[in-house]
């Protein structure tokens, strides 16, 4: 099964599903045209609410991540190759940055906190 959810996490389950599809597409585990399992199948297999799965699929369609073909199911959309390339390039940037931070003597926790506070700050600035 593509999906794995943690209901006890504070993150809404539908967002967990979306993140997993996004991640699978980014690393190439899911390719354009690949079919996602049906809503009821996911709900019954993971013993979760079908409305929650449907909500995740709707949001993904809205975001252009998947295409819902009536009666046929859900398929991974043709993502612009640009997006995947950007992620691949980004991964190289992160690789270099993490190596540089480790050279400065920072441990995993410190690096994580730095990245998160940087993201939070840029997000706040963007909102202003």
């Amino acid at each position: 099964m593509l999906f794995r959810v943690n209901p006890q996490s504070g993150v809404p389950i539908y967002l967990q599903l979306i993140d997993q599809v996004r991640h699978a597409v980014e690393i190439g585990a899911l390719r354009p045209g690949d079919q996602l399992p049906g809503i009821r199948k996911v709900a019954e297999e993971l013993v979760m609410n079908p409305n929650t799965v449907a909500k995740a699929y709707r949001e993904m369609e809205h975001a252009g991540l998947i295409a819902l073909r009536h009666g046929a199911g859900a398929f991974v959309a043709d993502t612009p190759a640009r997006g995947q390339q950007a992620v691949r390039k980004g991964r190289a940037v992160v690789h270099r940055a993490v190596a540089a931070l480790r050279d400065l003597g920072l441990d995993e926790g410190a690096i994580r906190r730095l990245v998160e506070s940087e993201l939070a700050e840029t997000e706040q600035e963007a909102r202003r």
Binding site: Q8, S9, G10, E44, V47, M48, N49, P50, N51, T52
Partner: protein, 286 residues
């Protein structure tokens, strides 16, 4: 047909609900949460016409509660104490019930008798607690109703039986059945529900879409930056530890951020709260 599945307004009884108000939309799985003695069972009994309210009103699928037996073609109730006939064997119990309900799903009955391993020849009182619960659930779902109301459906079941029960409820929801269940098991609610109703002392303290509730509710830690700071009313009851303040915000992070702008208090962390944290916060604050 598009009104709510349950519409409860100002419901009151000398014991149980006290001005209880909430709605449950159609097509959801909704969990009814509240401590022992908060009025969950009495509320369910009033909804099912098994007890009378002294004030307020309650509608089930648009029909006033307790006004007509016709509603039992569209609603099934599984009480906490399973009423099975003491002299009937499990198989007879199924045949008896089947006779009353023309919509009966024979295929589902067969499947569940197998899946739940119901000993058809055993007399009901001899069935284990878990098997009684499964049989009662079978009798309810095979009627093909629009609304299933269950009082602690997994109480006393082993983990395997709990998972089977939840799977069946999810499957029913997949067919468009509305499910409303009272429980103490927060993990079950997080796993299968998309709607919650929390009650305390007979009053509703939170109700609505579970994702909404989770994304609005945040566990927040703040730091007080200057000495002469007035703590805003929104943070009354928060824990103060030196310069740190921690608590829960029922508004999304943005609202709290705006309230705090220029107040000398800065948000350090703001993370989504779990259902357990929301529940405890509602039970303490409300």
């Amino acid at each position: 047909m598009n009104g709510p599945a349950l519409d409860v307004r100002g419901l009151s009884k000398s014991y149980g609900p006290r001005g209880l108000t909430f709605t449950v939309p159609r097509g959801v799985i909704s969990g009814l949460l509240g401590p022992n003695g908060s009025g969950k069972t009495t509320t369910l009994r009033i909804l099912m016409g098994l007890a009378h309210a002294q004030g307020g009103s309650a509608e089930v699928l648009g029909v006033p509660a307790g006004s007509s037996h016709e509603i039992f073609r569209r609603v099934a109730f599984v009480p906490e104490v399973k009423d099975l006939y003491p002299f009937a064997r499990a198989g007879e119990m199924i045949r008896l019930t089947r006779g009353f309900f023309p919509n009966w799903d024979h295929e589902l009955e067969k499947r569940l008798v197998d899946a739940f391993a119901i000993p058809l020849r055993m007399r009901c009182p001899k069935l284990s607690k878990g098997t009684k619960a499964k049989l009662a659930l079978l009798l309810a779902v095979c009627r093909r109703v629009e609304l299933l109301v269950l009082d602690e459906p997994t109480e006393g079941l082993d983990p395997l039986a709990i998972e089977e029960t939840l799977r069946l409820l999810v499957e029913q929801a997949g067919h468009g059945v509305t499910v409303f269940f009272a429980t103490h098991q927060l993990p079950e609610v997080e796993q299968i529900a998309d709607h919650v109703v929390m009650i305390k002392d007979g009053t509703c303290v939170a109700a609505g879409d579970l994702d909404d509730l989770k994304s609005r509710y945040r566990r927040v830690r703040c730091v007080i930056e200057t000495s002469d700071v007035e703590v805003p009313a929104a943070m009354a009851g928060w824990r103060r530890d030196g310069r740190f303040l921690s608590g829960f915000s029922a508004d999304d992070g943005d609202t709290l951020g705006r309230q705090l702008a220029g107040s000398g208090i800065a948000v350090l962390e703001s993370e989504p709260a779990t259902l357990k944290e929301i529940f405890f916060d509602r039970m303490e604050q409300a």
